[in-house]
């Protein structure tokens, strides 16, 4: 245990926590926007798998990381169109539609990977970019300001999402259709359009999350996410539907994952116990849900399809 509390190991753990938090944060912020509009999207994991695969395949073919990020985003948008049609146009039950999207993404990414790639080959990873001046701060700079551009983007999207929701007309519309769609409708806000756009933004961010996941790892394999997308959905409850709270949750998850990895590497967690240690994020989520369930206020119209009468 003593090995863990050395400065260099702690800095490395913090850096890895922030890196690992990135896909959680991107996906959770997107899910927050969707849920604030009253739409639960449980398909995040499937969307992430598909976008991760296509991003990976793009780098494999072209070597172009930014094209790969763009592809991830577009795949997310395309899945958003599908999910929007299902849940908003057709008013399908959201929970199970999301599971359908998940199963579809899981199967299709697996199928395409086996058919188009076969054996996992490593690809280039997102390079770390030093922030001028800030990255020179001892230790702190190394942990916070020598990360990749998608990590910076994810954390910049926290205030951006908060501002979008609290200070813009569109954000107000999102919140109003999530709380009381009938009232919003009577005031002339299009519930359908608002929810559809919120879904598109959310899925695009899930697409970015998939790209971030695979481009930080530099490799793809079937079921790469291993439930990460579902934890991202839970983080929205964890963060009480607020971007800053969601960021706190994502960082906590990054930290738990990074610590487990570091403790395994240092031998603090024996090999035989590493599977038990892997239970930590999901167990933590369940405990958090138990503690928070009655204390946080969900958008009143969450999971309720809107139909005009």
């Amino acid at each position: 245990m003593g090995d863990f509390f050395t400065l260099s190991v702690l800095v490395a753990t913090a850096a890895s926590a922030i890196r690992l938090a990135t896909p959680y944060l991107l996906a959770s912020l997107g899910e927050t926007i969707g849920q604030r509009s009253g739409v639960l999207n449980l398909g995040v994991d499937g969307v992430m798998l598909l976008s991760a695969f296509f991003s990976y395949w793009t780098v494999l073919g072209t070597g172009n990381l930014w094209l790969a990020v763009l592809v991830g985003l577009v795949v997310g948008l395309a899945m958003g169109v599908l999910y929007g049609v299902i849940t908003v146009r057709l008013s399908a039950t959201q929970g199970i539609s999301g599971i359908g999207i998940f199963i579809f993404g899981l199967g299709l990414s697996d199928l395409l990977f086996r058919q188009l790639v076969g054996t996992p080959k490593p690809v280039r990873r997102l390079p770390n970019v030093d922030v001028p001046i800030l990255s020179d701060i001892p230790h702190l700079g190394e942990a916070l300001f020598q990360r990749n551009l998608l990590t910076y983007l994810a954390f910049l999207l926290v205030p951006a999402t908060a501002l979008l929701l609290s200070r813009t007309t569109f954000g107000l519309n999102i919140r109003s259709v999530g709380e009381n769609p009938q009232a919003a409708d009577s005031l002339g806000v299009s519930v359908e359009r608002t929810r559809f756009v919120a879904i598109l933004i959310g899925n695009a961010m899930a697409g970015l999350a998939g790209a971030a996941l695979v481009l930080q790892l530099g490799i793809f394999q079937p079921n790469l996410t291993q439930g990460l997308g579902f934890i991202a959905v839970a983080l929205v409850y964890f963060g009480a539907w607020r971007p800053v709270g969601v960021m706190g949750g994502a960082l906590l998850y990054g930290l738990v994952n990074a610590t487990v990895l570091q403790w395994k590497a240092l031998g603090i967690i024996p090999v035989s116990g590493s599977d038990l240690a892997n239970m930590a994020p999901a167990v933590l989520t369940i405990l958090a849900l138990i503690v928070l369930a009655r204390r946080v206020h969900a958008p009143a119209a969450l999971t309720k399809p809107f139909t005009r009468h």
Partner: protein
């Protein structure tokens, strides 16, 4: 009447859409859709032993699917089939390891009961959390899936690992060959058809009888239809939500036990993922239940169909080198399509007044 026709068309249309998607995928992958269909039909129904394999594949889907109908009819969304299957398998494995010398006519029922008990616990936990602590059951069941995979890996790589795997250093996460007295007896020699298949069918019939022919089922469906009204009628919503999840989980747990003791290796084995042991039956069972209109009896033929899709996909991989994951993608399409269609939405939010199979026309609820 029109609604009844529409309702019957939904699964058909879903199948057509999934089929069209499959054909497009095959074309995109450079294979002929007709040859693909041929290979799938041949793989699923081509011989007696293949038919038996299809029925065996369908068995966990029937069980999980029947359980799903109980939960969904009580308005509890059970996504935790994977964890409940694993729990049932682990508990029944431990029973077989502890009492290997019991005679088969005791040990076989005992491992199935152990499976039911293990699954029931993993169902009751999220049920009780929903009932007594307002924890969203979709999230808690998904999290328990993630927890149980790791727990399974821990046991199969550690305390329960086959001693031979340690000796040989190969360390495949699997148990030793379990007692032959626990093996599910084969029904037809030369095929894999074992008693798990009739057990699953009986369980699905039991689920139907419980839901529509007992006071317990009446209470479950009353809670599913309107918790407020049920409460006003003196029905405990909390207890029934927990009970629905426990029943649902117990059926999945039996599936877990059957996956172990109906397997050729007569052992529990994984590849480190949940699907490596369950074959994703926890999710595919949901697909079968939805496709069967959330009716336990209709879940049986529906599960057979998806069992055929799975064995067919294996053959597709063998003959045309198209990855069997195609079947998973097709399952996703079926869910999306079935859930998007109004009549099925009606089924989900349906009144408690219907009596199921024998008055199916009353099931076509007026869409909201």
């Amino acid at each position: 009447m029109l609604k009844a026709v529409l309702g019957a068309l939904v699964p058909l249309l879903a199948a057509v859409v999934a089929f069209a998607f499959g054909a497009i995928m095959l074309l995109a992958l450079g294979a002929s859709p007709l040859e693909g269909l041929n290979a799938m039909l041949d793989g699923a129904f081509g011989s007696g032993s293949r038919l038996a394999a299809t029925a065996v594949k369908a068995t966990p889907l029937i069980l999980v699917g029947a359980g799903i109908t109980i939960a969904f009819r009580t308005s509890v969304i059970n996504i935790g089939g994977e964890s409940q299957i694993i729990a049932g398998a682990l508990l029944s494995t431990v029973v077989a390891l502890t009492l290997p010398d019991l005679p088969a006519f005791i040990l076989v029922p005992l491992v199935l009961l152990a499976g039911a008990a293990g699954g029931a616990v993993l169902g009751a936990i999220p049920g009780a959390l929903k009932a007594y602590a307002s924890v969203n059951e979709i999230l808690s069941t998904i999290m328990l899936n993630l927890v149980m995979v790791q727990f399974m890996n821990f046991l199969l790589r550690g305390p329960l690992i086959d001693p031979f795997e340690l000796e040989a250093g190969t360390r495949i996460p699997q148990t030793q060959r379990l007692s032959d007295n626990a093996a599910l007896p084969t029904l037809i020699d030369g095929t894999r058809l074992h008693i798990g298949v009739p057990v699953a069918i009986i369980a699905a019939v039991a689920a139907y009888l419980i839901l529509w022919r007992t006071p317990t089922g009446f209470r479950l469906r009353a809670v599913g239809h309107s918790p407020e009204a049920a409460r006003a009628a003196g029905i405990s919503v909390k207890r029934n939500v927990t009970l629905a999840m426990a029943l649902s989980g117990s059926l999945a747990g039996i599936a877990g036990s059957i996956l172990v003791f109906g397997s050729e290796g007569q052992r529990m084995v994984t590849d480190g993922s949940a699907a490596g042991f369950t074959g994703s039956a926890g999710f595919n069972g949901i697909v079968a239940a939805l496709f069967g209109g959330l009716h336990p009896l209709w879940t049986i033929p529906s599960a057979m169909l998806f069992g055929a899709l799975l064995t067919g996909a294996t053959q597709l991989q063998r003959v045309l080198q198209v990855p069997a994951a195609l079947a998973v993608a097709l399952n996703g399409i079926v869910v999306i399509f079935v859930i998007s269609s109004t009549p099925v939405r009606g089924w989900l939010q349906r009144s408690l007044a219907d009596s199921g199979l024998f008055s199916r026309s009353s099931n076509r609820v007026e869409a909201d």
